[in-house]
Chain length 367, copies 2
């Protein structure tokens, strides 16, 4: 791994990481145009079609030559492994639907607004991922007894918070040994697209997306905690600039609905015809099963019908018939998971704008 | 086609269509998150991978049941046609690389800034499109001698400029008879993804993307000019709010480069190592062949090497070695096409923010 390097000379109109009450910045617009969300009408699909799944790419999509690419599994292990993609594909394969969400989903709705990727609500998607479980590979390599973490490093590099590093994240040995943690090479039955980590990425089901390192090139067992920027600085629940705060791990419970009716192009405000309207959406959590979804119509909460879950780590479909009467209305939805966590109706603020699972709010005009 | 319907009651923090010197609005952020651009590092690919091609969806992605979907070709024709997707696939098939670009690409860089989809620079992409030429179908239907235009209507509907309409655009009979105009059902060898017009879209090579109507359901020959919002109001070169102005048609000459080096996550500013750097990019035009690309280094323009064009309607690759010396530099690129059109160095403003092909500007720090 290259040594962290502090850069000079970047002119910054806005200071990333400092929350603001000010208007949207050009930097946020650039990020919004690169890192797209899932249009909420795609919530109607069990599996998000290719190209509609949300994307967060911290730096650039790296160009990887499959002939030269190898995954190394080294550091504090008994036997260092070096694997080609064919080696990995020759191992036991598992296909599983998994919902991934960006930890910053909902950040742009917070006031004050942390300056980073300005997600509104669509930083989510569910894919059928195919790969091989990580645990047997770790057993083959023989992780040393004094190893405390595994560091997963991608082929993408850049500067964040003044530090130059490749994108890298760690998991404790126990977290990495969970049977659902996989090295995946296919998405919805096709090779990983370049933007989702070709040829191989880590997949940590139930966790926010930052854990599922894309363009994976090395796994290193280390004997002290990894202190890279993406692990020790970014992705923490904080109330102010001073750390350390709590590290971000599993996905907080959330539900979203397909906005009903038709939109206005510019405002995205919805117009709905009066009469029975089927409201539909999805709910998910990394902390347990979805046990209840409620729809709020002008402040009155009613239970929605729940379909069976698509898998242990995938979203659950819900629906409710609403008899729409002419006038302006506010629709909301909120879910509760088996840990007892319920989405809040008002914002619960934090300094990096992480895990904002405040209940969605959709304004509609019924005619 | 449903009757235009003026809606009431939409609260609008910003007035779409009115240029502003003010900050970015929440409405623009919502659009930027839905309608993604192509990350500029994808310019290194001859064909843009699925999911990286730019997308502009005016309303919602419609859900289409292929069993019920039919294309009708009617209006002022001798023989009305109704075709299933299998009928269309049974016809002569052509596969062709075509570069599509949104007419609003570069809009967010204009000052004052027209309020609409706030594209920075990446609203472009090149796909291998497969479909059947339109002209033989029109000959089969027998367009009436008094028909002046063909109206192409999609399955997507919404409100724009206060008017409710399905998305629809027209071409003159002569424009529609061009041999390269196609009905396409595949993109890069796979069925059209939902967001690119499944199951069928029009493709008008050389024109800005608004002409290539997605989710096509009907083609209607009409005996007077079509006056729908997307044809008669949107997509015009104007200097103020009063029309009619010139309708937007073919793509203006443009070149873009892959930003060299590595980015800062938030500002996207580039850091480059000193020494020889291969600058690469693409250039395209709907008005003729690309004849020249020049790279500007701190204001001094030098010719780039051009590869052969990929096709009559696809971008052309260019490259130039730059010997980067430590310090801050401004890189630009500009192309000239066989019509003699050259990209301007400064903005050429218009009221809707259309066709802003001002030469790209990339600031880099060389270390």
């Amino acid at each position: 791994m290259s040594k962290p390097h502090v850069t000079q000379g970047a002119t910054q109109a806005a200071i990333p990481g400092q929350p603001t009450e000010g208007p949207l910045t050009h930097e946020e617009l650039q990020l919004a145009g690169r890192n797209h969300s899932m249009p909420l009408e795609a919530l109607r699909e069990d599996v998000t079609p290719a190209g509609l799944h949300y994307l967060l790419i911290h730096f650039d999509i790296p160009h990887i030559d499959l002939n030269e690419w190898r995954l190394t599994l080294g550091g504090a292990v008994n036997r260092k492994l070096e694997l080609s993609l064919d080696d990995i594909k020759a191992r036991d394969a598992v296909t599983m639907p998994v919902t991934l969400e960006c930890a910053g989903n909902g950040r742009a709705l917070l006031q004050p607004r942390p300056l980073s990727q300005p997600w509104v609500l669509g930083a989510v998607g569910t894919a059928e991922w195919t790969g091989t479980p990580l645990a047997p590979l770790l057993e083959e390599a023989g992780v040393a007894s004094d190893a405390v973490e595994l560091v997963f490093t991608g082929a993408d590099s850049g500067i964040q918070g003044g530090v130059e590093e490749p994108y890298a994240r760690s998991l404790t040995i126990a977290e990495a040994m969970h049977p659902e943690v996989m090295l995946v090479y296919a998405m919805n039955g096709n090779p990983l697209p370049p933007q989702h980590g070709f040829p191989l990425r880590l997949l940590v089901p139930g966790w926010y997306g930052m854990a599922s390192v894309k363009w994976l090139t090395s796994i290193e067992a280390v004997t002290s905690r990894f202190m890279g920027v993406q692990q020790a600085v970014a992705y923490h629940y904080l109330q102010g600039p001073d750390g350390p705060g709590l590290p971000v791990t599993r996905i907080r419970v959330r539900s979203l609905m397909v906005p009903p009716g038709i939109p206005d192009f510019f405002t995205r405000r919805r117009v709905v015809d009066a009469g029975p309207v089927m409201l539909r959406g999805r709910a998910w959590s990394g902390h347990g099963e979805i046990e209840r979804v409620e729809v709020g119509i002008d402040g009155e909460w009613m239970p929605a019908h729940l379909e069976p879950a698509q898998g242990d780590f995938a979203w659950r479909s819900w629906s409710m018939v609403w008899v729409a009467k002419p006038g302006d209305h506010v629709l909301r939805c909120r879910a509760m998971d088996s840990s007892g966590a319920l989405q809040a109706s008002e914002q619960v603020w934090n300094y990096q704008g992480i895990g904002n699972n405040m209940a969605q709010r959709v304004e509609v005009t019924v005619r």
